[in-house]
């Protein structure tokens, strides 16, 4: 059934034709629609990792909180989405294990943001070094204290 005299995809071709120099669009003097400047596809990510953990931003237009599933198993991250037959799945290997209690996932206006803190077990932590006097005053917590028999 033909509903339109114009093939819908001619819309884009017409738009492209307007990009020619001297065209109506060019006379308006504004940025023009061009194929080379097309936005990245849904599912595109930015991932950055550092000492604190990993931040991930994914473009998920059309998907809300109810349509997205995020799971982490050790350092394996999996993001899945499904809505009205549209679905996507991407997996990532993180450079660290995740402290799940502080992990956050938020989706707003079709952008998914993940905050995945590095697990404490992998985080470098300082051990305070005590002087001799403090070591004598404080109770020994590791092993047996042979001098404690009064």
């Amino acid at each position: 059934m033909v509903l339109f005299d114009h093939d819908p995809f001619q819309i884009f071709q017409r738009a492209l034709r307007h990009d020619a120099p001297g065209s109506a669009n060019a006379r308006h003097g504004r940025a023009l629609t061009r194929r080379s400047t097309e936005a990245p596809a849904a599912g595109a990510v930015n991932v950055s990792s550092g000492d604190e953990g990993t931040e991930l931003t994914m473009l998920v237009p059309g998907f809300g909180p109810a349509h997205i599933d995020v799971s982490v198993e050790r350092a394996a991250l999996r993001i899945r989405g499904e809505r009205d037959g549209r679905r996507f799945e991407r997996s990532f290997r993180l450079p660290h294990a995740v402290h799940m209690e502080d992990a956050k996932a938020q989706v707003e206006h079709g952008v998914l943001t993940l905050t995945l803190p590095r697990s404490d077990a992998e985080r470098r932590q300082q051990v305070p070094v005590l002087g001799g006097a403090a070591a004598l005053d404080g109770p020994a917590e590791i092993g047996e204290d042979p001098g404690s028999t009064a």
Binding site: L3, F4, P8, R35, E38, A39, E55
Partner: protein, 137 residues
């Protein structure tokens, strides 16, 4: 119009760590403008256009039909990576802009638009039959 748009390829690493709170208009360098991914679907009622606009909210979206062209401009909340060491960088911060010439037999005055989860649907009904019978008394 052979003005190079090399600025669109310039990474805008703002070093802004408060990603959530960064206002969209704050960027010093001009943000890249990208044409949204789109699809057209004719229906019984008219034409349904779907545009992927991740990061765009209703208040930051300008939409108009002018001289048979659909104009779209949407500022987004997309920001640069929060940390300098990027493991994977598949896009830079950008806004959306595009214009599309519409078929002539659609009724722009009756167009409706809906933005949900970063996806815009524009519905434009087909204009009724141009031929109208005139009653003769």
């Amino acid at each position: 119009m052979n003005q190079p748009d090399h600025h669109q390829e310039t990474p805008t690493m703002t070093g802004n760590t408060s990603r959530q709170e960064a206002p969209t208009t704050q960027a010093q360098a001009p943000r890249a403008r990208r044409t949204p991914r789109w699809a057209a679907r004719p229906s019984d009622d008219g034409l349904a256009l779907t545009f992927d606009l991740p990061g765009a909210s209703r208040g930051e979206l300008e939409l108009a039909i002018e001289e048979g062209e659909l104009h779209l401009l949407a500022r987004t909340t997309l920001a640069g990576p929060a940390q300098a060491a990027s493991a994977r960088l598949e896009f830079e911060p950008f806004d959306f802009e595009g214009r599309w010439a519409l078929p002539e037999d659609v009724d722009a005055d009756a167009a409706e638009a809906r933005l949900e989860d970063g996806q815009l649907t524009v519905t434009i009904p087909r204009r009724g039959p141009q031929r109208r019978a005139i009653e003769v008394r």
